[in-house]
Symmetry: C2
Subunit: 101 residues, 2 copies
DNA sequence: TTCATCATTCGACATGTTTCGAAGTATAGT
DNA sequence: ACTATACTTCGAAACATGTCGAATGATGAA
């Protein structure tokens, strides 16, 4: 196992090691089957980060921080769409993590 | 997903989030196929923690700490055997983690 | 253009993690 | 009993993380 590969995986695990982030990615994974884009302006999940902030009892800036962590770990793709953001769970990263052991 | 279950998984991910611990568990997983006990006094892996200390360039006390972290996360079972320790990777924990997504 | 809304960045603080060396415990061999 | 070996615990230092509120940026609507 190369040092680089090891670092990449530990970054993924670190991203998932926080209960709030784990909750976030699990919820988003449910909303984005087949790695499709998940729009924040549909159904009950309108205002994506605001909703997470309310549900998790955290400040919006903290949610933004957690989103960034998940993105840097390669687990989340984030795109601006007007005022909101579009997010998609990177299923490849999830798969590679599952296949590690 | 219950709060308790979420905490349990994030503890597993946290244990794997450190490159040194990830390296340790991956090596041990190789040595203990079928969740059998892995004795520290066989083959090239004699003096388990001492070896890891040397190979990873860490102090023995640090390795001991990392072993403990892995044990508390439920990933490793540790038993004393004379001067050494017997360790076994908890395959159930690994499996539950793989099946989370 | 001005305003309201959603998201991000920044600075600060509290808390947690990683690491070491020193001291302690347990055990096997002499 | 003494010594050597393997591991653990403890205290401390350095560093990283989680969180907030305030300030900033970006976008769509009036």
């Amino acid at each position: 196992m190369s040092e680089e590969r090891l670092e990449r995986f530990s970054r993924i695990f670190k991203a998932l090691s926080n209960p709030h982030r784990l909750r976030i990615i699990l919820e988003l994974a449910q909303c984005t089957p087949g790695s499709g884009m998940f729009t924040t302006t549909v159904d009950q999940v309108e205002n994506c980060q605001q909703e997470f902030a309310k549900n998790l009892g955290l400040a919006p800036s903290t949610i933004s921080h957690h989103f960034k962590e998940l993105r840097l770990a390669g687990l989340l793709r984030i795109k601006r769409d007007g005022k909101n953001v579009l997010v998609s769970v990177n299923q490849e990263a999830i798969e590679s993590m599952r296949n590690l052991f």
